[in-house]
């Protein structure tokens, strides 16, 4: 497969969205410190096309084992925040903040992969509302104090989250989506000056008890050496974690659908659908993904007009979320084979399916390394040019397991190996500004809907330009051109959920900005 979904389906992207947003901020005058209250509310309505794996007989015509679902999306949210900051007699700055954040996101449309209670018969898609609501109540305290060579920031935070995920049918199914959990954390960060203007050591750590994954520590150490005013060398070692979302670890997810004969060649072809499905293992707790990174860099001011910034990094990932087959082989991980064969015997259309069952695991491992080089050049006070190149290589540990391979290969190929960027900004007389931005990314590929043919996003070069005229202090007129080199190209793909790859089309628009 190659190219974007829009190219594959011919479905016109419908990015029409209506946004409503309002906010209010109050800052009453106080003698002891600064107090502020903030409230924000938003509602965004949009439309999208989601693509799911599907039982063959229920597939969108011309797209076996896939189904397009046009959905309408409503995202809403309300935030209430209070913040108080003050200075102690001993010079410490403190901030106490509390907020309540409520978010909801719901999709509605003709929806379903076919997997469900009717197994081995595919459940026809039906008008379904799915999504979720989440409320966070958060209170945190931070204090910064400078004493001698130490610049210390520390903090404590407590958050209580209640959420409800509504995922009634495949490809995402979660029957009891309600959860409530507490999350508490503390952090400390000490910026230590070992030799003034020459050597700095920064030590810090976050200690967190996450309601989903338990206790995690994220320490980091960083060293800065400035031998002269134009050179800085730095190095850092850190450990970080990522907590999985509840949807990705607790729901039963149909990750792909395909002809069952592809996995079990003993079956007749194009009669039975194999739904490749992951479920959580009963009783298995969630685990955070871990990354240990070693980084280093050199910043050099070559002369008054030219700066160079280079860096190298290496990251070791472990406990990455992935999956494993439930049995020792694909044939031994098939669920519902007897029923599916029986269903096939009586059904005139290919609406029967079996399940290739996997479970979620946190066993994948990978390493990544790379570097970046950036130049910032000011040939004159009117002209600035920035160029950069970044290299990234990700190498995972391959086990041969169907689910593990899918996750590891996707991790390896989803990010571009090479990225180039060149930007120029020129200010002409009379308040006219010309911005040019060219960038090139190498190829990426993404496993979606089936496990054998990744969707490839070809390497692309894009050029954006902006010509702006500051007419007076209040009015700015601008002409913006995007993606001037191609008619269209794909830049990214969203998987889980898999929506259209958004093709970036050549576009030209005019803006007027009036400040008053």
């Amino acid at each position: 497969m190659n190219g974007s979904i829009e190219k594959l389906t011919g479905i016109q992207g419908d990015d029409n969205a209506s946004h409503q947003r309002m906010g209010l901020k109050l800052a009453p005058q106080l003698a002891t410190g600064e107090l502020s209250f903030k409230t924000e509310a938003y509602r965004v309505r949009s439309n999208d096309v989601w693509i799911s794996p599907s039982v063959l007989a229920l597939s969108t015509p011309g797209k076996p084992f896939e189904i397009d679902s046009p959905v309408s999306v409503v995202d809403e949210g309300v935030l209430l925040q209070a913040r108080y900051s003050w200075k102690n007699e001993n010079g410490a700055d403190s901030v106490l903040q509390a907020y309540v954040d409520h978010e909801s996101s719901f999709h509605q449309g003709l929806w379903g992969s076919g997997s469900g209670d009717l197994r081995p018969i595919g459940t026809p898609p039906s008008i379904t509302r799915f999504g979720g609501v989440k409320t966070d109540v958060d209170i945190d305290f931070q204090q910064r104090r400078i004493a001698g060579a130490h610049d210390v920031i520390w903090g404590l935070a407590f958050r209580y989250t209640t959420d409800n995920l509504v995922l009634p049918s495949g490809p995402y199914r979660l029957l009891n989506g309600k959860d409530a959990r507490a999350n508490y954390s503390a952090f400390i960060h000490d910026d230590i000056t070992l030799k003034p203007d020459r050597l700095k050591l920064i030590l810090g750590s976050k200690f967190e008890h996450d309601g989903l994954t338990g206790f995690n520590i994220q320490p980091n150490a960083r060293m800065l050496w400035t031998p002269s005013s134009s050179d800085t060398f730095w190095g850092a070692l850190s450990k970080s974690v990522r907590s999985p979302r509840r949807t990705e670890s607790l729901a039963t997810i149909d990750i792909a659908a395909d002809d069952a004969a592809k996995y079990i060649p003993q079956l007749p072809s194009q009669r039975l659908t194999a739904m490749v499905q992951v479920t959580p293992q009963p009783g298995a707790g969630l685990m955070a993904e871990k990354a240990i990174s070693l980084e280093g860099g050199w910043r050099k001011q070559i002369n008054a007009h030219l700066n160079l910034d280079t860096s190298l990094f290496m990251t070791d990932y472990s406990a990455l979320r992935g999956g494993r087959l439930t049995g020792p082989s694909i044939a031994q991980s098939v669920m519902g084979l007897n029923e599916a064969v029986g269903c096939m015997m009586v059904s005139p259309v290919p609406n029967c399916y079996l399940v290739i069952q996997g479970y979620n695991s946190n066993k994948e491992q990978a390493k990544s390394w790379g570097g970046e080089m950036a130049l910032d050049w000011h040939p004159s006070s009117k002209w600035r040019v920035q160029g950069s190149y970044a290299y990234l290589k990700i190498q995972g540990v391959h086990t041969g397991d169907l689910f593990s391979e899918l996750q590891v290969s996707a991790f390896e190929t989803a990010s571009p190996r090479h990225q180039f960027s060149l930007r120029s900004n020129y200010v002409f007389d009379g308040g006219i500004n010309l911005d040019l931005w060219a960038r090139r990314n190498s190829q990426t590929s993404h496993f979606v809907l089936n496990v054998t043919d990744p969707v490839v996003i070809r390497p692309y070069t894009a050029l954006d330009a902006r010509l702006a005229w500051q007419v007076d202090r209040q009015l700015e007129l601008a002409v913006v051109g995007k993606n001037l080199l191609n008619d269209r190209h794909s830049e990214f793909i969203s998987i889980l959920p898999y929506t259209r790859a958004y093709d970036i089309q050549r576009s030209l628009f005019v803006t007027a900005l009036w400040r008053f």
């Binding site: 079990i264 003993q266 079956l267 007749p268 082989s329 044939a331 007897n338 064969v341 015997m345």
Partner: protein, 180 residues
């Protein structure tokens, strides 16, 4: 110099052969056994047996070959509203009490005796032995280029009042008796 006693060498060779065999019996044959067992399960559902019995539904193997254990997985499932009982290595004279008799290709020498013993009885004889259809088995399960297909010997089934559903016959590779 150290010399292995002959017996030990033979034992080693035997172990090597055994493990090679279990390698060969890996993914592919597991799938083949599971698919064949799935077909047998569905023959139990989509073939009509004469009489109306409340007794358990017996799936028996005439020899030791039970499709690598895949048939045992059908034990206690239901077919025709009756609980399935899987019996392995059933004596010839007791096969008459079974609804399905399976003769695997590693028990090939049993097939003739089984057919003779069951002649005239409403017991569905299923085999994955290549020459089974010629010898008079009711259903031949066969793997060609990996794919498992089945032939139904309708004429012989009719003689003992076994009726296959029309949908099941649509899926069969052939439904005519190979030997008139």
């Amino acid at each position: 110099m150290f010399i292995f006693p002959l017996r030990q060498i033979l034992l080693l060779v035997f172990i090597a052969l055994l493990s090679k065999q279990s390698w060969a019996q890996s993914a592919n044959s597991v799938a083949e056994y599971r698919v064949k067992a799935a077909y047998i399960y569905n023959f139990a559902k989509y073939v009509d047996w004469p009489g109306d019995e409340a007794k358990p539904f017996r799936v028996c193997t005439a020899g030791k070959d039970d499709l690598g254990g895949a048939l045992a997985a059908l034990d206690r499932r239901t077919a025709q509203g009756r609980e399935i009982q899987v019996r392995r290595d059933v004596a010839l004279e007791q096969l008459r009490d079974c609804q399905i008799a399976f003769v695997g290709d590693t028990d090939s020498k049993l097939l003739n005796q089984v057919l003779k013993q069951l002649s005239g009885s409403p017991v569905l004889v299923v085999s994955d032995l290549r020459q089974a259809a010629d010898l008079g088995a009711h259903i031949l399960l066969q793997a060609t280029d990996d794919r498992v297909e089945f032939d139904v010997n309708l004429a012989i089934m009719q003689k003992v009042n076994l009726k296959a559903s029309s949908q099941m016959l649509k899926l069969a590779r052939s439904t005519k008796p190979l030997k008139p």
